[in-house]
C-alpha cells in the first residue's frame, strides 16, 4: 500500500510539471492555432536562469527560492514575448505550416545557442528551496515534491482566474474565439497575443525551476523530452483547453511512473503514447476538448 501511495505521489509531482508546460502549448494553440515548439526550450532557459541566480542567493532559504522562481518566470515571459515579436508576428496570417517550421527553427536555435553559451555538459542545479523529508509510515514525502504540486496547483488556479475573471483574460478568450471579430470590437490582438506568450512562457519558466529542483541535472537539451510529453499531455486533455492540459499532464505523469515502477519499465514511453492513441481514437478532440467543425 505504501508503495502504491509513494508511486502515486511520484507520479503526481511529475505530472504537475508536465501540466505546467502543457498549459503553455495549449494557450498558444487556443489563441493562434499553432504549436509553439520553442516552448520546451523556454522551459530549459528557465532552469538555466535559476541555475545562475541560484548561485548568488543563499541556498536553502524560502525567500531565495521564491526570488529564483519569480525571476525565472519573468525572464521566460520576456523571452517568450521576444520570440513572438521577432519570429511569429511577421508570419501572422501566413500558412500554419510556415509558422510551424519557424517554431521548430526557434526551438533548434535555442537548444544549440544554449550549448554555446551554457556548455553541453550537464550542470548541477543548486538546492534553492529548503529541503526536508517526512516519513509517514513508509511513505516518504520530500518538500521538493510537495512544492512542485502546491506551486503548480497555485499557478493553475491563478491562470484560471486570469483567463476567466480579468479583462485581458476575456480578451484572450475573444481572440481565441474569433480574432477578426475581437479586433472589430476594439481588442488589440498584438497585445493579447504577446500577453499569451508571456503568460505561457512564465509557466514554462516555473516548470523549468520545479523540474530542476526535483531532477537537479540540467543541460541545454533537457527540454526536449519533457516538452514532447507535455505536448502529448496537451493533446490528451484536448488542445486549446486549459483544465484539459492540467488533467492530461497528471494522467501522463502518473501512468509513466506506474509503468516505470513495474517490470515493463522499458516500454514506459510506448505505453504512454499508446494510451494517447487509444484516447484519441475514441475522443478525437481529447478528453475535455469539444469537437468543432472548422469554419470556412
Amino acid at each position: 500500500m505504501s508503495e502504491f501511495l509513494q508511486q502515486l505521489l511520484n507520479g503526481i509531482s511529475l505530472g504537475a510539471i508536465y501540466a505546467l508546460i502543457a498549459l503553455g502549448y495549449t494557450m498558444v494553440y487556443g489563441v493562434l492555432r499553432f504549436i509553439n515548439f520553442a516552448h520546451s526550450d523556454v522551459f530549459m532557459v528557465g532552469a538555466f536562469i535559476g541555475y545562475y541566480l541560484g548561485r548568488i542567493v543563499p541556498e536553502g532559504t524560502l525567500w531565495g527560492g521564491c526570488l529564483v522562481l519569480l525571476t525565472a518566470m519573468i525572464g521566460c515571459a520576456l523571452l517568450g514575448m521576444l520570440i513572438e515579436r521577432l519570429a511569429y508576428r511577421r508570419l501572422r496570417g501566413a500558412a500554419t505550416l510556415n509558422v510551424l517550421i519557424t517554431a521548430i527553427g526557434v526551438s533548434l536555435l535555442l537548444e544549440y545557442s544554449g550549448q554555446v553559451f551554457f556548455g553541453a555538459a550537464p550542470r548541477t542545479f543548486p538546492a534553492v528551496f529548503p529541503s526536508l523529508n517526512f516519513n509517514l509510515g513508509g511513505l516518504v514525502i520530500s518538500t521538493n515534491q510537495l512544492a512542485v504540486i502546491v506551486i503548480a496547483f497555485l499557478l493553475m488556479v491563478a491562470l484560471q482566474f486570469i483567463v476567466h475573471r480579468t479583462k485581458i483574460g476575456t480578451a484572450m478568450r475573444a481572440v481565441a474565439l474569433n480574432p477578426r471579430a475581437a479586433q472589430l470590437v476594439g481588442v488589440n490582438n498584438d497585445v493579447v497575443i504577446s500577453f499569451t506568450f508571456g503568460l505561457g512562457s512564465a509557466l514554462a519558466g516555473a516548470g523549468g525551476i520545479l523540474y530542476a529542483l526535483n531532477y537537479p541535472s540540467i543541460d541545454p537539451l533537457m527540454g526536449v523530452m519533457p516538452g514532447l510529453k507535455a505536448f502529448v499531455a496537451a493533446v490528451l486533455g484536448g488542445i486549446g483547453n486549459i483544465p484539459g492540459a492540467a488533467l492530461g499532464g497528471l494522467i501522463l505523469g502518473t501512468v509513466e511512473t506506474f509503468v516505470n515502477g513495474s517490470q515493463w519499465s522499458t516500454y514506459k514511453d510506448a505505453i504512454a503514447f499508446a494510451i494517447l492513441i487509444i484516447i484519441l481514437l475514441f475522443r478525437p478532440a481529447g478528453l475535455l476538448g469539444k469537437f468543432t467543425v472548422e469554419k470556412v
Binding site: E3, Y211, N260, S265
Partner: protein, 376 residues
C-alpha cells in the same frame, strides 16, 4: 548484391593499406571521443591523458625518429557519430591506429569500420566483451565486464556482507546490461539473492518509480550499473525516498560530476575502476605529478591513465616493430606482454583484452578514496 555501406567499407579497406605504408612524415594516431554532451567528462579526461603521452614521446624524439601526430574527433555523446568520426580518421587522415571510445556502445559502432579497414583500434574504457569479438584488429586497454561484474559481486558479498542485492540497469547501454548480467550470475553463485531488477534509459532524470519498487524489496545493496550522470541522480532520489543502503557501480561512475551532481547522496557509495591517483606505487605517483603539472593541477581520472597507457602501448609496439604499418602493428600490439603502464602491468590476451588488477573506490567527504585492490 553489394550494399552501399559494404561497398564503402571495401573501398576504405582497399585504399588504407598502401597509402599508409608509403607515408614517411609524422606517425598519425587517431582518437574518437565524446568531448561534448553528457559523456564529455570521460572523453575530455581521456584526451588529456593521451595528449600528455604524445607530448612526452615527442619531447624524447618521437617514435622511430618520427613525430607522433595526434588527431581527435568529437562524437558529441551521440549514437551514430562514432562511425562518421572513424571513417574520417581512417580515410582522410590516414591514421595508423585508432584510440577510443569510452562507452561500449560507441566502440561497438566504430569497431567494424576499423576491422574492415585493417587499422588496429584500442578501446579505452569499453568493458563489454562484444567489443573485441568484432575482429582481430580490435583491442582494449581496460579489463572486461565479466571481470568487473565478478569483482562487484565478490565485493558486495564479502566486503559489504550483502545477502540481498537489487539491480538497476540502463536498457540502452550494452555496458550496463553486460555488467548487470554478470553481477547477477556471480552473486547468485556466491549464494546471494537478487531481490529486484529495475530498468531505465540513458538520459532519464526520474528514477523515483524504480527506486520505490526497489525500496519495497528491502535490498542490502543496490547496484546501479549505468553511468555517473544517472547514478548521481539515482543516489539523490534514493536518499530522498529514504532508501539508505549502500549503492555500488562500475567504472562508469568514475567522474568528478558524480560528486558534483550527487552531493551528500553519493557518500558511502562504492565503485570499481582501473586506477586510483592515491595508489602509492612510484610510477603512479610520478604520472600524477606530470599530469598535474600539464593540466593546471587536475588529478588524473582512471580514463586519463588508460588513455596514457593506450598510447604508450601502441608507441612501444611501433618501436618494437620497426614500422608504423597498420597490419604489422596489429601483430605487435597482440604480442604485448607485461607492459608496465600506470594502470598496472598489462598483458594482451588471446582475445585481445587486457588483463590487469581492479581497484574499489569509495566516496568519503566528497572525494573518491582508495578502498581496496582486487586481483583478477
Amino acid at each position: 548484391m553489394i550494399s552501399r555501406r559494404e561497398f564503402l567499407l571495401a573501398t576504405l579497406a582497399a585504399s588504407a593499406g598502401p597509402l599508409l605504408a608509403a607515408d614517411a612524415g609524422p606517425i598519425r594516431i587517431g582518437h574518437y571521443a565524446s568531448l561534448t554532451g553528457k559523456d564529455a567528462a570521460f572523453g575530455v579526461a581521456t584526451r588529456k591523458g593521451i595528449l600528455l603521452a604524445v607530448e612526452e614521446l615527442n619531447a624524447q624524439g618521437g617514435v622511430l625518429g618520427r613525430r607522433i601526430e595526434y588527431l581527435v574527433e568529437d562524437i558529441q555523446s551521440k549514437q551514430g557519430e562514432s562511425v562518421t568520426a572513424v571513417k574520417k580518421l581512417i580515410s582522410r587522415d590516414k591514421v595508423v591506429a585508432v584510440l577510443g571510445a569510452n562507452a561500449s556502445s560507441n566502440s561497438l559502432e566504430a569497431a567494424p569500420i576499423c576491422q574492415n579497414a585493417k587499422v588496429p583500434m584500442m578501446a579505452i574504457s569499453s568493458t563489454n566483451p562484444k567489443v573485441t569479438e568484432i575482429g582481430d584488429y580490435i583491442f582494449r586497454i581496460c579489463f572486461i565486464d565479466p571481470f568487473q561484474g565478478a569483482v562487484l559481486a565478490k565485493f558486495a558479498h564479502t566486503s559489504l556482507r550483502a545477502k540481498r542485492v537489487a539491480l538497476l540497469t540502463s536498457t540502452n547501454s550494452p555496458y550496463s546490461i553486460g555488467l548487470s548480467s554478470v553481477l547477477r550470475e556471480r552473486f547468485q553463485a556466491l549464494g546471494g539473492e537478487i531481490v529486484a531488477e529495475q530498468k531505465f534509459t540513458e538520459g532519464d532524470k526520474d528514477f523515483r518509480a524504480q527506486l520505490t519498487a526497489i525500496r519495497a524489496a528491502r535490498p542490502d545493496v543496490v547496484a546501479a550499473t549505468g553511468f555517473y550522470s544517472e547514478a548521481a541522480l539515482i543516489c539523490r532520489q534514493a536518499r530522498s525516498l529514504g532508501l539508505d543502503v549502500p549503492f555500488i557501480g562500475g567504472d562508469g561512475w568514475e567522474a568528478p560530476q558524480l560528486v558534483e551532481l550527487g552531493g551528500k547522496a553519493v557518500e558511502g557509495t562504492y565503485y570499481s575502476t582501473y586506477f586510483s591517483a592515491e595508489n602509492s606505487a612510484p610510477e603512479v605517483q610520478s604520472f600524477v605529478q606530470r599530469y598535474r603539472a600539464r593540466w593546471s593541477n587536475e588529478t588524473p581520472e582512471a580514463v586519463s591513465a588508460l588513455g596514457y597507457d593506450a598510447l604508450r602501448l601502441i608507441a612501444a609496439a611501433i618501436e618494437r616493430n620497426g614500422t608504423a604499418d597498420s597490419r604489422k602493428l596489429r601483430d605487435a600490439i597482440a604480442a604485448t606482454r607485461d607492459f608496465a603502464g600506470v594502470t598496472g602491468s598489462t598483458t594482451i590476451d588471446a582475445r585481445r583484452n587486457s588483463t590487469k588488477a581492479a581497484v574499489m573506490l569509495t566516496i568519503k567527504d566528497g572525494r573518491p578514496r582508495f578502498f581496496e585492490a582486487v586481483a583478477p
